[in-house]
């Protein structure tokens, strides 16, 4: 039997990521825990920390590009909109080579400069928006801390600009997180979910099942409690959901719904 022929990890479903402790190949990295990966989705643009992706954007009126730096100019603002070190995202430029995510190296109330090698075409069209998920009080940071209150986070991704472009709404935010099911303080309740599409999911991760020392409490409920404590998110239209990520071979995508906000249903972003 080959070393990686499937007998070394759970084949019963594709959401069970890495039962690494069962790997036979010596490696310091295989001593990790069995992980569950989830996608968190919410009707809020976590990347820009705004309701909608374009909120607070500034239209580019011109600029220069010398092969080392690009300077975008815009109508004079009441104050300098970007600080050196801020991250900005530029999109919808007439020439796509000037689109992208950049770190601000210089800024005035009518221009912003970034390091970027593109040159040769006019810097016209487009918009600039400030990337704000890493702000000290960003909603993303609240969500992550809320998750950490109920689960031991092993893996965490950041929101990306792709959320706005690859889903059909601009007010959508996602990120992926992985938790160790052995160490999760709160369990995930699949019991009320009818959206499994016929998947065969293992026992041992349902409410009250097989979580040594765990309080058999639903992760989604615990998250909702945490969100309620910071302003009642989820009940006012800013619906959120968590879905188990399936390993589909060509990537990980949200599959079975593992919980969602109370009072508002959020469809998984399976609408591309």
């Amino acid at each position: 039997m080959p070393q990686y022929a499937g007998n070394l990890y759970d084949q019963s479903n594709a959401s069970e990521v890495a039962v690494n402790t069962q790997k036979a190949s010596p490696s310091s990295l295989f001593g990790t825990r069995n992980l569950k990966f989830f996608t968190f989705s919410i009707f809020y643009n976590l990347y820009t920390n705004q309701n909608d992706f374009g909120d607070g954007s500034i239209s580019v009126t011109g600029g220069t590009a010398d092969g080392k730096q690009v300077t975008y100019t815009f109508a004079p603002q009441a104050s300098v909109p970007y600080a050196v070190g801020d991250t900005i995202f530029v999109y919808d430029m007439d020439h796509g080579q000037y689109n992208g995510e950049y770190t601000v190296v210089a800024s005035t109330n009518s221009s912003v400069t970034v390091d970027w090698y593109a040159t040769g075409n006019t810097v016209t069209g487009g918009n600039i928006v400030r990337v704000a998920y890493n702000d000290a009080d960003s909603f993303y940071s609240y969500i992550v801390r809320a998750i950490q209150k109920v689960a031991e986070v092993y893996y965490l991704s950041a929101p990306t600009w792709k959320d706005a472009f690859y889903t059909e709404t601009n007010d959508f935010g996602n990120f992926v997180f992985g938790i160790s099911d052995e160490l999760t303080a709160y369990d995930v309740d699949f019991s009320n979910d009818n959206s499994d599409g016929g998947h065969t999911y293992p026992t041992g991760f349902g409410a009250g099942e097989g979580a040594p020392g765990a309080t058999p409490t639903d992760l989604a409920s615990a998250l909702q409690n945490a969100f309620d404590a910071i302003g009642g998110w989820g009940g006012n239209g800013d619906g959120w959901s968590i879905a188990v990520c399936d390993d589909l071979g060509w990537g990980f995508a949200p599959g079975r719904l593992a919980g969602e906000s109370t009072g508002y249903s959020l469809v998984s972003p399976n609408n591309l």
């Binding site: 039997m1 080959p2 070393q3 990686y4 022929a5 499937g6 084949q11 594709a14 990521v17 890495a18 190949s25 490696s27 990295l29 990790t32 990966f37 080392k68 796509g96 080579q97 992208g100 995510e101 950049y102 390091d115 970027w116 998920y133 890493n134 702000d135 009080d137 940071s141 801390r145 950490q148 031991e152 092993y154 893996y155 965490l156 991704s157 950041a158 990306t160 600009w161 792709k162 959320d163 690859y166 889903t167 996602n174 990120f175 992926v176 160790s180 160490l183 016929g198 390993d247 589909l248 071979g249 060509w250 990537g251 990980f252 995508a253 949200p254 599959g255 972003p269 399976n270 591309l272």
Partner: protein, 300 residues
Amino acid sequence: MPRYAGDQIYQGGSENGNVTTTALNYRRTAASSNFGTRKLAWYTVCVNQDLGVAANYAENNSLYYQMVRAIQQGDGIGGIDAPTEHNGDIRGGGGGGAELFYVGLPQNSSSSPLNQQDNWYTIKPTAPTSAIDVTSASGDGTTATLTFTTVQGAAPFNVGDAVEVQNVGSGYDCVLIDQHFVTECTTTYVKYNSTATATLTSLEASVYADLGYDCFTFAIVDDAEPFLPLGSGYFGDTDFSGVAGDYICYCNISIQGNTGYCASALNLSDAIRQVLVDNDLNGSDFTLFRLQESFGLLQF
């Protein structure tokens, strides 16, 4: 500042962050025994389905096993190419040598049960066949049978492949996204799930299927910080000189009318290509993507 306020979340990625922002976990300061891991880079390998990577993965010395071994340990033969240097990063011939953190089972993107259930048709890899002419149709309300106009040299579709049927009518027609799958296929006919019951002859219709690709995901440890691609070319490129010796280049792609970036890990590609060549197969019959994060870990 919150504990997760960005400075502890990997923002560098590459190409100014437009590629994977996968967790630099060791930067996290929150007390957690599980944050002591290293940065991961996720990939998927997609191989032409006729090589049987998914169907035969459990066989001794299967292609899947050889590919995983090559990714982990190098191809062990010497590689197609002599070692090369790129911006000071030595790439060994044949590639590979990455420290694996996770490897998934290979699945066909059309016929595997999960890919049938999860309707990710618009973003998953597809490999549609040519349309085959159909001359007659019949059905029992559960299964439809389409008879090919001419006998095929071999069964053109695999069980489980999604099918698209055109110009038959009477409830037979469907498109790939409609979730109709091959239940049986020979050189003369194909059966698929359908509620149609009419018996039709002398048709000028056609059917084709998505053969999909056999894909598997894996994650490697990538401790290297990328060099920003300033001045390195029109599209730019980036070296990852870490454990994998990964080398990634970028090209503009268009998804739903928006510009994005694709990445190709040439070093790991070398390892997989060498496995195919060693088995007297076409070394180009695969693609390798570095996965990126959005609402999942995906190819874009």
